[in-house]
């Protein structure tokens, strides 16, 4: 039904996809798996008309198509459930589900029909915790996710794209989703299913396509592959991938958590030592970023102990010598329209301290020296932007530095540079905590890997642990 050939896509010179082929037949559940950064979401956005491909062709029922707008894709019967919710919090469930194509009777929106259809879809999902008239902002996140699914289903799509649909769902909700997908399949609807959770892939999919580094590795019927093989296909990579050598010595404890918790985290025990890089692994929603934010003081711990002290605000965190390189650089790390210099000095200026005179040296150290310091940050590459964020914290000579997805969205060369810098900093005696969804990176960089699940520590693995071991702990099951 849908066939894509030779799809390629770059963003600002960073190649995200190249030469990807993908074919989906009616009534098929087709899983797309791959590590973070493998290009899955970009591929899905191309399917749904959010981004046009740079190269390659898309055919629908044998006819070439080119979607300039999500609406065009939808008119062709392609619906997507986004990873980020695309809901209006102030509107009701039904209004969200039918947004942009409200049923009309005699010129007026037919609310009854709308609500009835929504209720029916909710019923099909076995969802009775909320109804079509509930306002979305009052629903828990999991239920909002269901609204998102219902919204996609309501278009009578021939192809439904689901991007990590279960990330926020509870167990029984996942089962409803299974049933629903089964029903879609019966109706001849094709489902493109993206998930990290291999169990779901094996439960649901007819075929699976593996992506790695923006290319397709293989497409197989699900019966021809075992979970272990699939993981190997996803994560297996050139053994030549280089990570800086670990240093053996871990020094004094810089930061100690005992039974620390807040709304999202419970009973966290964790030690960060000078000279050590601790990796934090876990599935989406396991509390990885929340842990970093809590330590930093942005969303403080409310219970338990933290030594030397439990910061109640960002400024207290900074005063304790803690820095946070945030996950979303653009939304939380940088003032994009300000200069490199202004961004680098932001923390120092905000707290009225820090090593300003040494900024030139620091920029040199991270090899940003050639960049003009009055350049606006938004014109820099992702890698250089990340270095700006890093230098911002280095001006404070932090004792503990937390990295949340430090290499997301930057190219390979820049990744290596960031890795080298992190190790260099650790060797200089800094305590480093690193969150990454890319397991090879996490394992390659970390002296220890702490795995989180549902806001708790699920286990700790030593350096050099296998990706399978990490996955198993993170998923809480034998995958």
């Amino acid at each position: 039904m849908l066939s894509m050939r030779g799809i390629g896509k770059s963003f600002l010179g960073v190649r995200v996809l190249s030469g990807v082929d993908l074919a989906v037949t009616a009534g098929e559940v087709h899983a797309v798996v791959g590590e973070n950064g493998a290009g899955k979401s970009t591929l899905m956005k191309i399917v749904c008309g959010v981004h046009p491909p740079d190269e390659g062709t898309i055919e629908l029922d044998g006819r070439p198509v080119r979607f300039g707008h999500p609406l065009e894709a939808r008119r062709s019967g392609i619906a997507i459930i986004y990873q980020e919710f695309n809901l209006l919090p102030e509107r009701t469930v039904a209004e969200n589900v039918f947004l942009g194509r409200e049923p009309v009777r005699r010129g007026l929106v037919d609310r009854a029909a709308m609500e009835e259809a929504t209720a029916r879809l909710l019923g099909e999902l076995g969802e009775d915790a909320f109804g079509p008239r509930d306002v979305v902002k009052r629903l828990p996140v999991a239920q909002q996710q269901i609204v998102e699914i219902v919204k996609a289903l309501s278009v009578d799509a021939r192809l439904v794209v689901m991007d990590e649909p279960t990330a926020a769902l509870a167990e029984h909700e996942v089962e409803s989703l299974y049933r629903l997908i089964g029903r879609l399949r019966e109706r001849g609807v094709a489902v493109l299913y993206i998930s990290h959770r291999l169990r779901e892939v094996f439960d649901l999919a007819d075929r699976v396509t593996v992506l790695k580094d923006g290319s397709r590795v293989t497409t197989l019927p699900i019966g021809e592959v075992t979970p272990a093989e699939l993981i190997r296909l996803m994560v297996g990579r050139d053994l030549g991938a280089y990570f800086p050598p670990r240093s053996a010595r871990a020094g004094e404890v810089r930061l100690r958590l005992r039974a620390a918790g807040n709304r999202k985290l419970r009973d966290i025990d964790l030690d960060l030592r000078a000279g050590e890089i601790v990796g934090i692994a876990g599935l989406q929603g396991s509390g990885r970023s929340e842990l970093a934010r809590a330590i930093f003081g942005a969303e403080p711990f409310t219970t338990g102990e933290m030594t030397p002290a439990r910061p109640r605000s960002v400024r207290e965190g900074v005063a304790l010598g803690i820095g946070l390189v945030t996950e979303d650089r653009k939304a939380e790390g940088l003032a994009l329209r300000q200069s490199v210099r202004d961004n680098v000095l932001l923390v120092a200026r905000a707290v009225g301290a820090g090593n300003r005179a040494g900024v030139r040296d620091l920029l040199e150290r991270v090899r940003l020296a050639p960049v003009r310091r009055d350049q606006e940050v938004r014109y820099l590459s992702g890698g250089n932007q990340q270095k700006v964020v890093l230098v911002k914290w280095l001006t404070m000579a932090p004792r503990v530095l937390l990295f949340d997805e430090p290499t997301r969205g930057i190219d390979v060369g820049a990744k290596a540079a960031v890795h080298d810098l992190m190790r260099e900093l650790a060797d200089d005696g800094m305590a480093i905590m690193m969150i990454s969804s890319e397991l090879p990176e996490l394992i390659g960089m970390s002296d220890r890997v702490v795995v989180l699940r549902d806001g708790r520590v699920a286990g700790t693995l030593p350096a050099g642990a296998s990706e399978e071991a990490v996955m198993r702990l993170a998923a809480g099951e034998a995958a």
Partner: protein, 332 residues
């Protein structure tokens, strides 16, 4: 850092939980105010809810009410309109000049007013969406343009409205003036629009989250333009009403009434978020009535106008602060 965390906090329990909608708070406040007015005026030796004062409240709020309903539409769409005051003056003059005291000219005059105001709204909307000018500056600029034209062409009341059209401004059916009926009509139409038509749904969507609306296939620019056209038409209708009341067109009637900022204040007082996407006509009607009742009480007690300004300012800020506390923040 409450900036980061408070937005996620849950709503408070108890009574507050039942009063989550600003509209409910507002109408309670309105009731309270009427009661307080009753007591205060009674203590002053007067009677608050006489036929005349009830009629007065309605007459006073009709014009502002109509403008505010229009303003609600643009604010819900995430925009705002500072040009309504001058447009009202323009509309009153266009109406009175074309009518020129002749009954037969009422039809063409009304049509001309609606056309002129729709055109102004179209310009507002296009400048905002096509030229990507911030609504504040765009409508301020259009306001200046209209003002220049008005000052250039008129230096005092002009035109004449025939007796038959003044019915709109003066007659009443029982305790309900025709002007209030007109206001109610406009409000009901706007309510229908917002709650029963696609355009209404899209106005909420665009104001709530332009990106979500766009991804849902909504042509966001077109929605903003239409909202502006409707808002300006409302201002035009208010201009017609004022022309009927004044018996002539007046180049200062809009600005004297302060309809630009006051209509925005009434909308916000009604619980509609200035950022858009949240609120509705019911709140605006309540907001306008609250201001009118406040005015009426002050009038009865013969409080001077400066106290009124102070109280009005405080009421608006406090109301919005209360709504801000009450509403849960959006997903961060």
């Amino acid at each position: 850092m409450d900036l980061l965390t408070r937005a996620r906090g849950p709503a408070r329990g108890g009574l507050a939980a039942h009063l989550r909608e600003p509209t409910q708070v507002l109408f309670l406040a309105l009731l309270g105010l009427v009661a307080a007015g009753w007591v205060l005026v009674a203590l002053d030796g007067g009677q608050f809810l006489t036929l005349e004062s009830v009629v007065g409240i309605q007459q006073r709020s009709a014009a502002l009410g109509i403008v505010a309903v229009g303003q609600t539409l643009v604010i819900l769409a995430g925009s705002l309109d500072l040009s309504v005051a001058y447009l009202i003056s323009l509309a009153s003059l266009v109406a009175a000049e074309i009518m020129a005291g002749q009954d037969g000219n009422i039809g063409p005059a009304v049509a001309a007013v609606l056309a002129v105001s729709a055109l102004v709204g179209l310009v507002n909307g296009l400048v905002i969406t096509r030229l990507q000018v911030h609504a504040f500056i765009a409508t301020l600029g259009v306001a200046l343009i209209i003002r220049g034209a008005l000052d250039h062409l008129y230096d005092g009341p002009a035109g004449r409205v025939p007796e038959s059209f003044q019915v709109l401004g003066y007659s009443r059916i029982g305790p309900v003036p025709v002007s209030a009926l007109l206001w109610a009509g406009v409000a009901v139409l706007a309510w229908l629009l917002l709650s029963r038509t696609r355009l209404g749904y899209r106005i909420y969507a665009v104001g709530g989250d332009e990106e979500v609306a766009r991804l849902s296939g909504i042509r966001t620019g077109r929605v903003v333009v239409l909202a502006h056209v409707l808002c300006s038409v409302c201002a035009g209708v208010a201009g017609l009403l004022l022309a009927a009341r004044l018996g002539a067109g007046a180049p200062t009637v809009g600005t004297d009434g302060g309809y630009d900022l006051e209509s925005i204040a009434a909308v916000v007082l009604g619980g509609t978020a200035l950022a858009g996407g949240k609120g509705g006509v019911a709140g605006t009607v309540g907001g306008v009535l609250l201001l009118a009742v406040l005015d009426s009480i002050f009038n009865q007690l013969e409080v001077n106008s400066f106290v009124k300004d102070v109280v009005r300012g405080v009421v608006i800020v406090v109301a919005v602060a209360v709504y801000a506390r009450r509403t849960r923040g959006r997903r961060a």
